[in-house]
């Protein structure tokens, strides 16, 4: 004989309903909320690819095993990872599942009257009772008028009045939670339809807003190339001002000439660190700056093989900068120059050459020349600021002031000079960041309404008050006994009831 173990039949629908109820419960929402907080911690400690890709690369070099494990769990792109998204999407589903029914309920109750006066007022909060010479009807009229002025909802009951206030508290609460959904919509619209790119432009050079002009560019799935505003920017002048005592920057100012396509004349604008310029939902920011030494490289016949301003990357507050001058077109071997640029060069025994001020007061270009294969055809992307010298030989070191020329010696195979480099002078570069974010207005609106809802839901006071009149049996001259009590979760109920008692006792000088 076999026993069947009876389990309550749940069924698929039942199970789904149970899951939904679990997900939309406050407890689950609370746990998801905390989980979201805890889950975002690693991203503040482990470097993130979208913020600092070089530090991520460095991490892979320093801790290769750990880095691989981290990478497996998307810890270097935590905030766009599947598991992080899963947490906040679940949280938002839970929130929607909780808030929408409540909104509907709230909407239905929009005209609801306060509940009937309970039998035992004495059990409620702030119970008061006194005898009055006024008639019962008179008292109720006064109470009704009193609360009407204070925008209470009023319900007439049998020999009593019930009043209620603070419906808006729940409205605020719902507004807050619904606005959070608005922010989510704003964020996703921005990341799907937006783009972000940056380009380094030297003073005097122009930037045309097409995809190929960017040094780095990332765009959302729904971003179309036609979304680039058709503009050309010419960098007219960049000015950095520094504090003479601390060398700290005081001000950066960038003057641009903007030409919109289809228009012949350009317009002059100034961009500052906290003041970007705007074209529709695209904005252009001044993000970084540095020096570009101007050089001319000639081969041993005197023919110019390279000429221009080469952006160098600042390494410290005094703009000691490093960079690379790559000359692939030199024969018979390619030339690479690993350089550092010192805007205000000084020298001491410990540090060697260094820069003592961030302006170009005494510029020097320090160079190491390398001959061999630059490795540009290997297909591996290279940094423009560095040279892979694995397949190269160093042939000399030199320091140049503006206007000076260095004859670059040959290597062991060929002792003749391979050519020369002239340090023509120095100019500045700026890094323009160009961002399109169509979701911004939604997020801002969401944030403003969330704040408004929050304020209402935390500070609006919800309370109910009941006033009952009883014609006493043992009161000789037909005095009326007034009973008042209330219910409230927020402070101030006592004062509210006292105010009513005072109004009711006025004129006649009733006693307790």
């Amino acid at each position: 004989m076999s026993y069947e173990i009876k389990t309550p039949e749940l069924g698929t629908v039942g199970l789904l309903r149970w899951l939904w109820r679990q997900l939309t419960s406050m407890r689950t929402a609370l746990i998801l909320l905390l989980l979201l907080g805890v889950a975002s911690i690693p991203g503040s400690i482990i470097p993130q690819r979208n913020q600092d890709p070089t530090r991520v690369q460095q991490y892979f070099v320093n801790n290769p095993t750990l880095a691989k494990v981290f990478d497996k769990f998307s810890l270097f792109n935590l905030y766009s990872s599947t598991w992080f998204s899963a947490i906040y999407l679940l949280l938002f589903i839970s929130l929607i599942g909780c808030v929408l029914p409540r909104t509907w309920e709230h909407f239905k109750n929009i005209r609801a009257l306060p509940p009937q006066t309970p039998k035992n007022l004495i059990r409620l909060e702030e119970f008061r009772t006194f005898e009055s010479r006024k008639s019962a009807a008179e008292i109720l009229v006064i109470a009704r008028a009193h609360f009407g002025k204070r925008r209470y909802r009023i319900r007439d009951c049998d020999a009593s009045v019930a009043v209620e206030k603070g419906f808006i508290r729940e409205s605020g609460n719902l507004l807050f939670h619904l606005s959070l959904i608005g922010i989510l919509i704003g964020v996703s619209t921005g990341s799907l339809g937006g783009m972000r790119g940056s380009a380094i432009v030297n003073e005097g050079e122009s930037f045309t807003n097409v995809a190929t002009s960017y040094d780095s560019l990332s765009a959302g799935r729904f971003f179309k190339l036609s979304d680039f505003p058709p503009i050309t920017l010419k960098v007219i002048k960049f000015t950095a001002t520094y504090d003479l005592l601390t060398n700290a920057p005081l001000d950066y100012s960038l003057i641009l000439d903007v030409t919109e396509s289809g228009k012949s004349n350009s317009r002059r604008v100034e961009v500052k660190v906290n003041k970007p310029i705007t074209f529709g939902s695209t904005r252009i920011y001044l993000q970084a700056n540095g020096f570009s030494p101007k050089v001319t490289v000639r081969d041993n016949t005197g023919k110019i093989v390279l000429s221009g301003a080469i952006p160098f990357l600042p390494q410290d507050g005094n703009l000691t900068s490093i960079g690379a001058i790559k000359v692939p077109d030199l024969t018979p071997t390619q030339l690479g120059i690993v350089g550092s640029f010192l805007p205000t060069a000084e020298r001491d025994k410990i540090r060697g050459g260094f820069s003592s001020y961030p302006e170009a007061l005494n510029p020097r270009l320090l160079m190491a020349a390398w001959l061999g294969d630059l490795g540009l055809d290997s297909g591996v992307p290279q940094s423009v600021y560095r040279i892979n010298t694995k397949k190269m030989d160093r042939v000399g070191l030199q320091s140049l002031a503006p206007g000076e020329v260095w004859e670059i010696p040959g290597n062991s195979n060929n002792s003749n000079n391979v050519g020369s480099i002239t340090f023509d002078g120095v100019t500045q570069w700026v890094n323009l960041q160009i961002v399109r974010d169509p979701g911004k207005p939604f997020s801002l609106l969401g944030a403003v309404f969330a704040l408004l809802g929050l304020l209402i839901s935390l500070f609006a006071r919800r309370r109910r008050i009941w006033i009952r009149t009883v014609v006493g049996e043992n009161t000789s001259n037909s005095r009326v006994i007034v009973e008042i009590a209330g219910l409230s979760r927020s402070p101030g109920l006592a004062q509210e009831i006292d105010a009513l008692v005072n109004v009711l006792k006025e004129k006649w000088g009733d006693d307790e």
Partner: protein, 303 residues
């Protein structure tokens, strides 16, 4: 006419004097606490030599705290005059203004609630903050770097500092709740030792920490939103999960959880108090760790 350096020196003198005054206030509160072991609440109703000393020590402590607050306020203002801008441009200035906000929150709360018993903890915390500020964090006044030159600095940082002051006060109350909770038995009866009898009931402590958080949570929300608007203008994105932003978010989430926990069965009381403490620690962590050791764009400690 006073020079910038004169104002800076004046500011330092004010800050040092306020530390001296608050130290004496701390000593008075310490005496009060010591006497509280031998004073029972009934003594306060019918004064006797012991309880008179106890009450007096508390009053002196409060009076000195107010005086210290005025000195610190003068110090912060002088610092602002010396720098020619709002006095929150580096870690030293965040600390002295933060200590001022914390003291202010305490004194305002004191007007409405009986929180005199918190005096010992508050003065100690202020002394530690100011002590760290003048020894480890001090930097001479300097103008702002271009990234900080914005009206949002005034709004965003000011809101954050005030929120921080009130959050930390709520933290002290929540900690008191957890300590007092240990004197409550399973039936809800409290068996407190003498010194703890002066403190409010558990329900009152819970209510007080809730009110403080509820009061300032919208301000914190506003501070985060203002920061986002500023970040959009300065860096081209309103939210980028920079370490400071991440921790501000964690603090926000933790306090949001605390506010929800207080109305959720099974999370009321003790668990809510722990959440409050956790949320406050995330704020402190953000302030100390991210400013000094953290990477990211909010590296304005000036160190």
């Amino acid at each position: 006419m006073m020079s910038k350096a004169d104002w800076a020196t004046l500011s330092n003198n004010f800050v040092y004097s306020s530390m001296g005054i608050i130290f004496i206030a701390f000593i008075s509160f310490a005496f009060q606490t010591a006497w509280s072991f031998r004073v029972v609440p009934q003594d306060l109703d019918t004064p006797n030599p012991k309880s008179v000393k106890y009450t007096k020590a508390g009053r002196i402590g409060i009076a000195l705290t107010i005086l210290g607050f005025i000195f610190l306020l003068s110090g912060v203002i002088a610092r602002g005059v010396s720098a020619g801008r709002v006095p929150w441009g580096n870690m030293y200035e965040f600390s002295i203004t933060g200590a001022l906000a914390f003291l202010f929150a305490y004194l305002v709360t004191l007007r409405k609630y009986n929180v005199q018993w918190l005096g010992l903890v508050v003065t100690l915390a202020v002394l530690l903050t100011l002590g760290t500020a003048v020894t480890l964090l001090y930097v001479p006044t300097a103008p702002l770097v271009p990234a900080l030159k914005s009206t949002w600095l005034v709004i965003h940082v000011c809101a954050a500092i005030i929120s921080g002051g009130v959050f930390l006060l709520a933290n002290c109350v929540a900690a008191a709740y957890l300590i007092m909770d240990r004197y409550q038995d399973e039936d809800g009866n409290e068996h407190r030792p003498n010194w703890a009898k002066q403190l409010p009931t558990l329900a009152e402590l819970d209510q007080l920490s809730y009110r403080l958080v509820a009061l300032v949570f919208p301000l914190w929300t506003f501070s985060v939103i203002a920061g986002a608007i500023w970040a959009e203008a300065a860096w081209g994105r309103y939210w980028g999960w920079d370490p400071k932003e991440t921790w501000a978010f964690i603090t926000w989430v933790a306090y949001a959880a605390y506010l929800h926990a207080r109305v959720t069965a099974g999370w009321k009381g003790k668990r809510a108090a722990w959440l409050c403490l956790f949320a406050g620690s995330t704020f402190l962590f953000n302030y100390v760790y991210v400013n000094i050791w953290g990477a990211g764009r909010h590296t304005y400690s000036g160190l």
